[in-house]
């Protein structure tokens, strides 16, 4: 029987599962800062002595680059008269009143925005035909600047895509990578769609590197490496759809439920989410404003494993809302000096993963002891007592957040942390019917590979 590979790519961890005849045959998790993707996959396949015929990938890897400055060499071709419209629709920072409010930086450089004479009406009528002659000077300038990526953003292209398609063909024939996704007719706001195109362009380099690594690791052609995308599509994404792979994982998580009415509390190793049973979203509220994302409604929980344990000015201890990354990662990995919620939970719940070190664990304990000594409210507590109280509080907050989000039916709990945390969640919120996923610790990768009928327990 053919073997199928399921891959769940987080920002720092990868999980791979091999499925044969709907049975889980092998599973591995590895840490990208220590093991390259292709190397890790190759080694796993050698150990398992299995070769998959296809790989299905659910990826959050590109979240990693969201924090960096994007869009350095992406050109935007827009309807003339709207060259600064993307900038004007950027969100204001901060969210409170202050003397020097700013806009979030746009996704692409304003120096590379070009307006072209064209106009379609809200009914799809051509008010001004696309002036193809106006595209040539743009091409000449982009050649000089060695820009290879072009985004086409015209108004009302969802009603009449003729101009968009012609401009796309022009630049494609000249060898540019063109990002100009087809919009559905119901798409009524241009900016989320425009930003989706821009984000796909920004992601292009990283996504293509990722795909090459997967091809090398599995020794499979591109046609046999499929990605989960918006609307639950499983396909090879075209360049203009790279951004739509960002939240495709929500579909795999919902597929793993035992009943369709269940919401899912997805407690993955790196990140925690609540995925709604009812309701789809059309947009994702990104730092750059709304971006098109047609997926099940999901919430990134306020508490995350990578939130830092911090000392307050009032000399207490708390959890920062800022998420740090897993590179260098938790203190128990041995390379970081900042204690994370991950450290507290793994120690308290008695969990181990291969990236944790003895030296890291000792550092964590010593740091927490020092914190307690310096906190007048807490100095009488031992580390053990404090950790128990703190964890109870954390899980209480987590349960409270789920209560606020959950509407009806049971909550399917899945992911790396699901089984260790289940009893605590049941204690904190006994009125919720918590259902544990039987494949919880391998869920991410198993879900990615899901086919009809699911996996045997």
């Amino acid at each position: 029987m053919p073997v199928l590979a399921g891959v769940s790519l987080g920002p720092s961890f990868v999980e791979v599962a091999l499925i044969e005849e709907k049975e889980l045959k092998a599973f591995k998790r590895f840490y990208l800062p220590q093991t390259a993707l292709s190397t890790g996959i190759k080694k796993f396949l050698e150990e398992a002595q299995l070769k998959p015929v296809k790989a299905q990938v659910s990826s959050r890897f590109l979240e990693k680059i969201l924090g960096s400055k994007l869009g350095g060499t992406v050109a935007q071709v827009v309807t003339q008269g709207f060259e600064t419209w993307p900038v004007l629709r950027q969100p204001t920072r901060p969210h409170y009143f202050e003397l020097n409010p700013l806009r979030q930086d746009p996704l692409a450089s304003q120096d590379l925005v070009f307006g072209v004479p064209e106009r379609i009406s809200s009914r799809g009528e051509i008010l001004k035909p696309l002036d193809m002659q106006s595209l040539k000077p743009i091409h000449e300038k982009l050649q000089l600047m060695e820009v290879k990526k072009v985004v086409i953003n015209f108004l009302h292209s969802q009603i009449n895509p003729e101009h968009q398609n012609r401009a796309k063909a022009y630049f494609s024939e000249l060898g540019y990578q063109v990002f100009s996704a087809t919009r559905t007719e119901s798409s009524s706001d241009e900016m989320p769609a425009w930003k989706e195109n821009l984000l796909s362009a920004c992601f292009a380099g990283s996504f293509e590197e990722l795909r090459e690594e997967l091809k090398k690791g599995f020794d499979l052609p591109e046609t046999d490496i499929l990605f989960w995308m918006d609307q639950g599509r499983l396909a090879q994404p075209a360049p203009e759809n790279y951004a739509s792979t960002l939240h495709g994982w929500t579909h795999t998580v919902l597929q793993s439920r035992t009943e369709k009415s269940q919401s899912v509390l997805f407690l993955e190793l790196e990140n925690w989410f609540f995925v709604d049973a009812q309701g789809e979203q059309e947009y994702w509220e990104s730092p750059w404003g709304r971006i098109k994302s047609q997926n099940p409604r999901f919430h990134r929980l306020r508490l995350q494993p990578s939130c830092e344990v911090i000392r307050h000015s009032s000399s207490g201890l708390g959890i920062s809302r800022e998420e740090l990354s897993f590179e260098p990662g938790p203190m128990t990995f041995g390379r970081s000096v900042r204690p994370l919620l991950f450290d507290l939970l793994t120690e308290e719940l008695g969990l181990e993963i291969s990236t944790m070190t003895e030296a890291g664990r000792r550092k964590w304990q010593n740091t927490m002891i020092a914190f307690l000594k310096n906190s007048p409210d807490l100095s009488s507590l031992t580390l053990e007592k404090f950790s128990k109280k703190f964890m109870a509080r954390i899980l209480g907050q987590l349960a409270d957040e789920v209560r606020s989000l959950h509407k009806k039916g049971s909550v399917f709990v899945s992911g790396f942390w699901a089984e260790p945390m289940l009893t605590h969640l049941q204690h904190e919120a006994p009125e919720i019917d918590w259902v544990l996923d039987s494949h919880s610790s391998t869920r991410a990768a198993v879900s990615a590979s899901l086919c009809e009928g699911g996996i045997k327990s």
Binding site: F97, L99, N100, S188, E190, R302, G316, G396, D400, A429
Partner: protein
Amino acid sequence: MNSMHTEWLQEFIGDWLDFGDSAALLGPGHQTLGLRYETLADIGTLGVAAQTVVKYFSLEEGDVVLLNDPYSGGSTLSMMTFVVGLAGGFSWVIRTGFRPKLVMSKKLEEEGLRIPPTPLVQKFEMNSLIADAIYSHPQCPPTMKRRMTSLIPEILHKVRTWALLHNSRSPLLKTSNLNDYLQASRSHLEALLSEVAQGDARVETKLETGELIKLKLSLKNQQLFLDFSGTGPSQRICMTDAATIGACFGAFKAFLNTEIPVNSTTLEFLEVTTPLGSLLNSKYPSPTFRGMTEGCALVASTVIQGLSEVMPQRKINLGASSPLMISLDFSDQRSFFDVLPSGVSASSLGDGSDALHFWTRNRLQNSVEEIERYFPLRIHHVGIRGKSGGQGKFRGGNGVIKEYEVLEAAQLNWVLPSNKIADKAGLSGQSAEIILIEDNKTRIHLDQIEGHRKILKGSRLIVSSSGGHGF
């Protein structure tokens, strides 16, 4: 109270504010525990809305009282405020907006449907008779029924969630902990104020239409006294006392340039005196749309001017700080409304931002495609109004320019910024302007501060907001 609990309470309150366009949470003693605002008026009025409701109703868990009346703690008539009873005597205030209309009115009722505090839901049961009466009113926003159909069940779901949380977290939510939490806010603000200069200032803002805002400001002993005695009345720009307090606090917060929570104890740092009958403390039935929008911006800018005199190292001259507003009323009752943001003035902190609403934090923004689909309009151009910001060591932000083509005849209403203060150092940004082009050739400069005019099908409007002052 344990410091871990303070942090938990702060986050807990924050979660309950993340609903609607703006929201507030009040404790069993009707003290404001937290508030999230979108506008200046929200800061002063959300708490007052709750206090007005509890004065006239016995608000219990599962009750929802609807209001929009500005004289009962509402904002503009297009903003609906819901005061919700929660378990444990807590109350929750949520505000959500509908598309506004710019009406040059003399009375409040001309601005839209006025809803005094009205029991919409009692003990989780919708009062259908009242709801239907509201929906069928000719001035009721056209999308209100559809929106309420989904919003009310969401609100009631949250009320039930609150009951569960209140039950499991009741030790943390006891009054002594709430008071300790509020006291922590007070201490934080006291510490901030101990680091700033003290002093007095006198400021006047005179509008081109003749109104005068007079302010005597005194920052001393960690308190801010704002005495607006001498401020005159207005028939056009009318605010409520609550909105004035909100504008003052918003300005104070902005000037401190750091996030401070808005709650009962931080609001107490201000003592605001507004003469009854003045434009800052109007009486029913004075119209309030322009007061809640333009008026709040003018008051906030006046306060900022005063604080700039006390603390010149943080000086900012906000220039034409009231917004440029237009509306186009079509024959089929559809009314298009737009507010164009000005360039932000520069300050000692740096250049001003281009075309940014200084006194609004609205998460939603107009879409060109949606406007063109819904209204008989075509937008030919939206862009940054180049070189409209004032010069100086730091450049003022540029305004925005929009060009509309009107596809059906309409009535245009407009309000230009009414306090075009020229910067004494000559660093002014360009003024706002509206140009009407008829028959593709006749250009008419609409230079009155406010006005209305019938415009023909095919006319174009080029609307440009002001640039910020340089520094």
